[in-house]
Structure formats: structure tokens, C-alpha cells
């Protein structure tokens, strides 16, 4: 495998010239870009330079290239496989209820006996990630690892895009399949958050505003638990998100980050909706443990069998909630993941609205608030 990573910024252009020699029908091009701002020109330029390649990407809440995290840029990775095949597929969902169906569609498009890995990117607002993964699995079974993430829109949660062959689309999903015995795939995923206190029911909420847990004011409960640390609200609230469970099973567990604290109401405003009746549990984070979690996720990829020393593409998909909490320390986790790799590894990735990785080594599931690392190499 031959590998190049580079970036593009509107003001500076490409960080280095595209190595057109990498273009082939078995070349994977990943491009993660800002959700806002015009990247069409840059994407067309990359496409024109690499017309044979399979080019996929999506919008982000922060682009990762190496250990750096940027906003408003395009992070690009070009991986030419020498002894393996690459294929890609695209599917458009009319609404969220199509998620399972488009997963099946992608699965059928990529399905082959020697399929080893699937990397999937999907609209982070219009596609239900867990159903999409189940749709793919429904067709391809458990043999190939499914990893990836859900496109993001910064901290705005308004519109996201995915890209296939240089063309952008909303409400869509795109997937890449890697084939043959020489593909080496590693993956790892880790949170670094802890739940605490008893599980409670959401008894009063409207959209993304939470009023009551178990019939008691939710803000008061927060303050009771935070004690003297409540003085730091709302900033400290980022460290105390809420774990949501609307059913049974790990894929129904979601994390909701506190954006604002409304004292007179009293209520808490979250990044996304909290349906009444769902179960909720308090969570807490320690920044050092988050960073350590990222490092652990990267270390787990090595268990997947990536060759030491050879060219390796490391794709880091981290959660937007982590970026909110880590703030200016965000790059500590991208550094940590890169450090856990050998020197030949190049890292690209993005901050996402959801992470996809095989859970417990069996089925691919949607994670929340994790750092998910996928490594691709060839033997």
C-alpha cells in the first residue's frame, strides 16, 4: 500500500501536491471537510487529479490530520492498495425510516466472498446509524468488519453531507469495501466516561429541554450531585452529560451533552432531543481519562493484526461531545491515538455525530462519545 495525506485550506490551498501516481481503481481517497464554506472547488480538484480512485468523505465537527484538529479545512488521505481491491457504493435515504433499507442496499452493492472490511459514512442527522449498520450486516453477515461514522455539522446540528466521487449529498450514505486476503484491518473504540447514580425516567421534557427526572427538577438533581462543582455551571456541565436509554441493548444507549443551564425555569438544555419516558443516568468525565481512552482505542487496533512498520492508514473518528468537553485540549487525544501507532502510520479523521465500530469484536454498532480508530494496511 502506498499512502499520502494532505490538507486543503481556502486561504492556503493544498498543503502539498497530490501524488497522481497513486490514482488507480484500487485507490481509496478519504476527504473530511467543514460542513460550511465552499469546498466544491477543492473536491473537484482532487477528483480531477484522481479520476480512477474511489473517493468518499463527509462533513465534520473538526477535521483530523496527523495530530492536528482543524476547522474549515479538508483533510485528505490517499491509499493505493497494491494487492487488494477497493469498491464503493452510494445510497440516498428519503427519510430516517429508510436507514435499514439503505444499509441493505450498500451491503448488496459491496457483498462478495472476499470482502474484508467496510468503511461507511452517513448523514448524521437524517440517517439512523444503528439501523444503517444493521442493514449492512443483514446482507454481508459478520465476516467483514464495519467501521465508520456519521457526518457532523460543527456544533450546529442543522445539515450534514456525505461525498461520493466528488459529489456532495444530504440524507445519504456512502461505503467503501476492501477485498482480498492481504487487507489488514484493525479497529478499536473507547469512551472514557463513567455513569453514576441510579437510572431515572425522563418525566418532563420538551424537545432538547429537560425539566424533570423521576418527577423531580432535573437541574436541582444536577446541582445536588455536583455540589461545589455546580459553581462552575454551565461550563462544568460538559463534563456531566446524560446517558439515555430508550430500549434494551447497547445500541439504544445515547449520550446527551448539556449546552446550557436555565436557572429560572429550572431546566437544562441539551444538544439534542430527550424523549419523555426514556431512561437517563448521569455521566461524568475526566479529561485525562478521555485522552487515555483515545490512546487505548488506538492501541486496540494493533490487536487486529496491523503490521508493524508498514504503511498504515489510521482513520480516527471521534465524537463531537468529546471535542466540546476537551476544548483546547482536543488535540491531546489525536496526539494520543497517533502516538499509539507505529511510525509508518498516517492519521486522518473527523469529529462525528456518531461512531461506528464492531462492538466486543462481533457486530458493528453505533457508539457515542467514543474515539473509534480503524487502521488499514496490506500484508
Amino acid at each position: 500500500m502506498r499512502l499520502q495525506t494532505l490538507s486543503y485550506r481556502g486561504d492556503r490551498g493544498l498543503s502539498q501536491p497530490i501524488d497522481v501516481a497513486l490514482d488507480s481503481s484500487d485507490t481509496l481517497v478519504l476527504a473530511f471537510g467543514a460542513s460550511r464554506g465552499d469546498l466544491r472547488h477543492a473536491l473537484r480538484m482532487v477528483r480531477e487529479a484522481l479520476p480512477l480512485s474511489h473517493m468518499v468523505g463527509c462533513s465534520t465537527a473538526g477535521e483530523i490530520l496527523g495530530s492536528e484538529v482543524s476547522d474549515g479545512s479538508l483533510a485528505i488521505a490517499i491509499a493505493r492498495f497494491e494487492r487488494s481491491r477497493v469498491r464503493s457504493a452510494f445510497a440516498l435515504a428519503l427519510d430516517a425510516s429508510d436507514s435499514f433499507a439503505i444499509g441493505q442496499h450498500l451491503g448488496r452493492a459491496l457483498h462478495a466472498p472476499d470482502l474484508r472490511a467496510v468503511f461507511v459514512l452517513a448523514d448524521g442527522l437524517k440517517v439512523v446509524g444503528s439501523k444503517l449498520v444493521r442493514g449492512i450486516r443483514d446482507v454481508i453477515g459478520d465476516r467483514a468488519a464495519v467501521t465508520g461514522g456519521l457526518a457532523a455539522d460543527g456544533m450546529l446540528f442543522e445539515t450534514t453531507w456525505v461525498m461520493h466521487q466528488g459529489v456532495l449529498g444530504s440524507g445519504a450514505a456512502v461505503a467503501v469495501g476492501l477485498y482480498g486476503d492481504h487487507v489488514e484491518v484493525g479497529y478499536g473504540s473507547k469512551g472514557g466516561w463513567d455513569i453514576f447514580g441510579p437510572e431515572r425516567s425522563i418525566t418532563r421534557s420538551r424537545d432538547n429541554v429537560l425539566y424533570e427526572l423521576d418527577g423531580k427538577p432535573a437541574l436541582q438533581l444536577y446541582k445536588t450531585y455536583l455540589g461545589q462543582r455546580a459553581a462552575g455551571l454551565p461550563a462544568t456541565a460538559l463534563l456531566f452529560p446524560l446517558a439515555l436509554r430508550s430500549g434494551h441493548g447497547p445500541d439504544n444507549s445515547l449520550v446527551r451533552t448539556v449546552l446550557a443551564v436555565n436557572d429560572p425555569a429550572p431546566s437544562l438544555t441539551f444538544a439534542r432531543a430527550l424523549p419523555p419516558g426514556a431512561r437517563a443516568q448521569l455521566m461524568r468525565a475526566n479529561l485525562d481519562r478521555l485522552v487515555q481512552g483515545a490512546s487505548d482505542a488506538a492501541a486496540m487496533t494493533q490487536a487486529g493484526g496491523a503490521l508493524l512498520g508498514g504503511p498504515t492508514l489510521s482513520i480516527a473518528v471521534s465524537c463531537v461531545g468529546r471535542r466540546m468537553v476537551l476544548g483546547e485540549r482536543t488535540e491531546e487525544e489525536t496526539e494520543a491515538t497517533l502516538e499509539a501507532m507505529h511510525a509508518g502510520a498516517k492519521q486522518v479523521g473527523f469529529y462525528a455525530y456518531g461512531e461506528i465500530s464492531p462492538c466486543a469484536g462481533i457486530a458493528s454498532e453505533l457508539h457515542n462519545q467514543t474515539m473509534t480508530v480503524t487502521t488499514l494496511s496490506e500484508s
Binding site: F196, T224, R229, N286, E339
Partner: protein, 447 residues
């Protein structure tokens, strides 16, 4: 330092410190800041952990207390409900005029009321002890048929769903109606049996008395009928002598006797004939009581005409017109020809007797499904509704009290009814005072 903490290693690297070189002041400051931040975060973390443990523990304890209280309250409420139900059950049992015994599926006595104790003469302490064997022993000593009694109990245990009613008789004449039914609980099925004992000793005695009285009455009726039959036989001999000699006198002695004596002889003959008719009727009745009639197909049209022939002269004497209107194609009936003839003659004689001169008498018949209806109508005096019921009983000649010129034995209609019934038929009357009478006799059509 092989076991360097990964965090410290990262912090050193971020500070730019190289393991081999002494750090610069800047690097030191950066490292110290990072370490300081970690300590503070660790303290915060520990604070949150400890606090959340304490608060969670309080919350869980409160939740536990709440749940326990709720469950205790619920338990207490259930217990009270149970107590109330038991009291209701006990009061219902005790208020019952019947003796009640409740046993479980293992035949253990669950409860019985005081009335049960009274009925079976159980000592109070035995009722309280509820010892099945003890109670059974006392009961068995009182019942007329102990073997049948135990056998019935065994049968009920073998068929737990059975509901039975029978009568248990005691040696001293007491009789108890026993009603036994299974106790069935939702979701459990049959879990016992309840037996009710109702004292019917008085009813029993009364019933026996009634039966005895009925038997006595039937015996008396038989004796009366026997007596009448014997009497009839005995009466016929002197009657024949009276009638024979009066007729001889009428024929041979009349020319030599004054007119007044001739009249006396005529009275003797008429009264004798009436009496003979009475005696004959009684004999027929007696015969009908002990003998069946031979039944076969009978053509009503023919019988009716023969009967009319017999009474025609009598009717002509009173200037009555007798008509017969019977369809030619009428189905034959099942009966005895002579008996039907007798019925018709009786009915026609009555009609002639009670219809004033110049009146009409009609014999008609019609088929109705499997029956044939024969009717004798007249334009006579009619019968009051209140009297119609008594019409067909012995010695009830309704007009007799008022109209002394009417002759009749008083058993004619009773005999007629008996004859009809003996042939599987029915008889009824439709009449009103002054509007004539219609006697309807229905017979089964012959197959």
C-alpha cells in the same frame, strides 16, 4: 523509568522535554501546569465520586424505604381485606338455616357452622376441634344407611366436580336433604367441597301422611265401586221381578182395572226401567274400571246413523229434529264400535232430554290433523259455565234440582267420559245458559 505512567509520559512529551536533556525553564513550567491540572482534576473527580456515592446511597435508601412502606401498606391492606372476607364468610355460614360443612381436597374439615353441629348433635368442643374422624363417627352412628353414606362420600372424592343432591335419613326419623358442591378457586381448580344439610324431617312426615291418605281414599273408592257393583247385581234380580210382573199387569190386567190403577202400573214400569238403566250403567262403569276396550278402526258415519236410528222414536215424541252431517270421506277413528255407539246414544239421549219441544239436534264430524272430532249439538237449555266443570262426575244431574220432569241416572256423562278416555279420546262441552250445548268428542284417527 520503565513503568512510567502513560499520562506522565504524554505530559513530558507535550512539554517538549527530552529524556536525555535537562528541561528548560519553559518546559518545566509547562510540565508543572499539566501536572497541576491533572491533580486538580483528580481531586474534582474524587470529590464527585464520593459525593455521588453518598447521594446515590441516600437516594437508593429513600427509594427502598418508599418501596418497603408501599409494600407494607399493600400487605396490610390485603391482610385486612382477607380478614373482612373471612368474617363475611363466617357470618354467612352462621346465619344459614342449613347445616354447612366445608372440607378441603384432603378431606380436612375447614369449617362448619353451629347449625351443622346442632343437626348432627355434635358437642360444641367437637365443632371447634374440626376433627373429621370424630365428626364422621358421630354422623355415621345416626344415619340409617352408614355404608351408603360413606360410599357416597367416597364417590364424591373420586369425582371432585360433581354437584349432587340426595336425602340422608336418620335412624330416629330425621331426614336431611344433602346438597354437595365443589369449591373451585380461580387458577387453582377444585380445592375442596361444601355440603349443605337441610332438615326436611317435617316435609317428609307430611308427605308420608298425604301418601297414606291418598292410598286410603283410593281404597275407599275401590270399596265403593265394589259395593255398587255387588249392589247392582243384587238389585237386578228383584227389579226384573218388579218389571216383569208390572208388564204382565199392564198387558193382562189392564182391562179389568180402573184408569187410575192403570196409571199406577205405568209409573211402576217407568220407574223400574229407569232403575234398571241405572243399575246397568253402574255395571258398565265397574267393567270399564277393570277391563280394557278392544280398539280398532271404526267408521263414525255408520255408527252415528245407527245411534240416531235408536233414539229417533224418542226424539219424534218430543217433536225434535235430528240431523247427521258427516263427510263421506272422513277417516275411520281408532276406537270400540259399541263404546262409541254408547257414547253417542248417551249424548243424544241427554240432548233430547234437555231440549224443549220443536228444537233441533245435530250430529257432525270433521277431521283435524291426526284427530277426528265428533260433535252433538242441541238447541236446549244450555249449561252455566260454573256447572260445566262438574258435568262429567258421578251423580251430578244439574237440572235435577230445578226440573223434576227430567229423568236421568246421574252417571250418564261420567260413564260417557270414561268410555271416551278408554279409547284414548277427549270430551269437552261448549255451552251457555239458554243457548244450547255442544258436546265434542275427539278420537285418534285410525292408522
Amino acid at each position: 523509568m520503565d513503568a512510567q505512567h502513560p499520562l506522565l509520559r504524554r505530559q513530558l512529551r507535550r512539554a517538549g522535554a527530552e529524556p536525555a536533556q535537562a528541561p528548560t525553564l519553559e518546559q518545566w513550567r509547562s510540565l508543572l501546569e499539566a501536572v497541576q491540572r491533572t491533580y486538580v482534576a483528580a481531586d474534582d473527580d474524587r470529590y464527585t465520586m464520593e459525593r455521588s456515592l453518598a447521594i446515590s446511597s441516600q437516594e437508593l435508601r429513600a427509594a427502598y424505604e418508599g418501596a418497603k412502606l408501599a409494600s407494607d401498606n399493600e400487605l396490610a391492606a390485603e391482610r385486612n381485606k382477607l380478614r373482612r372476607n373471612l368474617a363475611m364468610f363466617e357470618a354467612t355460614m352462621q346465619a344459614s338455616p342449613d347445616g354447612i360443612l366445608v372440607v378441603d381436597q384432603n378431606r380436612r374439615v375447614i369449617g362448619c357452622n353451629n347449625r351443622f353441629g346442632e343437626m348432627w348433635k355434635l358437642p360444641a368442643d367437637m365443632v371447634a376441634r374440626r376433627d373429621r374422624d370424630e365428626i364422621m363417627e358421630i354422623m355415621l352412628a345416626q344415619v340409617e344407611d352408614p355404608e351408603g353414606f360413606t360410599q357416597r362420600i367416597q364417590e364424591l372424592y373420586e369425582n371432585p366436580e360433581l354437584v349432587t343432591t340426595d336425602v340422608v335419613r336418620c335412624v330416629d326419623g330425621r331426614a336431611y336433604e344433602r346438597r354437595s358442591a365443589p369449591v373451585v378457586a380461580d387458577g387453582i381448580g377444585v380445592c375442596g367441597r361444601v355440603a349443605f344439610f337441610r332438615d326436611i324431617s317435617n316435609d317428609w312426615a307430611r308427605e308420608q301422611k298425604l301418601l297414606a291418605a291418598a292410598e286410603e281414599a283410593a281404597e275407599a273408592a275401590r270399596a265403593k265401586s265394589e259395593f255398587l257393583a255387588n249392589m247392582s247385581h243384587e238389585l237386578r234380580t228383584p227389579l226384573n221381578a218388579i218389571l216383569g210382573f208390572s208388564r204382565v199387569l199392564e198387558r193382562a190386567g189392564a182391562p179389568f182395572l180402573p184408569a187410575q190403577y192403570r196409571q199406577y202400573i205405568e209409573y211402576i214400569t217407568q220407574s223400574g226401567e229407569h232403575m234398571l238403566q241405572l243399575v246397568n250403567d253402574l255395571l258398565v262403569l265397574r267393567v270399564l274400571e277393570v277391563r280394557e276396550l278392544p280398539l280398532g278402526p271404526v267408521d263414525l258415519d255408520i255408527v252415528a246413523r245407527e245411534a240416531v236410528d235408536v233414539i229417533e222414536a224418542l226424539a219424534a215424541q218430543k217433536g225434535l229434529r235430528v240431523t247427521v252431517s258427516i263427510p263421506a270421506d272422513l277417516a275411520p277413528v281408532r276406537g270400540d264400535r259399541r263404546a262409541i255407539m254408547q257414547v253417542l246414544i248417551n249424548l243424544l239421549s241427554n240432548a233430547i232430554k234437555f231440549t224443549p219441544e220443536g228444537g233441533q239436534i245435530m250430529v257432525s264430524a270433521s277431521a283435524e290433523r291426526s284427530k277426528v272430532r265428533l260433535a252433538v249439538s242441541d238447541t236446549g237449555v244450555g249449561i252455566a259455565r260454573a256447572d260445566q266443570q262438574r258435568l262429567f262426575t258421578y251423580f251430578e244431574q244439574l237440572g235435577a234440582k230445578h226440573q223434576h220432569n227430567m229423568q236421568g241416572s246421574g252417571i250418564g256423562l261420567a260413564l260417557t267420559k270414561k268410555l271416551v278416555l278408554k279409547q284414548g279420546g277427549e270430551i269437552r262441552v261448549r255451552s251457555a245458559l239458554g243457548e244450547g250445548s255442544t258436546f265434542e268428542v275427539s278420537f285418534e284417527a285410525a292408522q
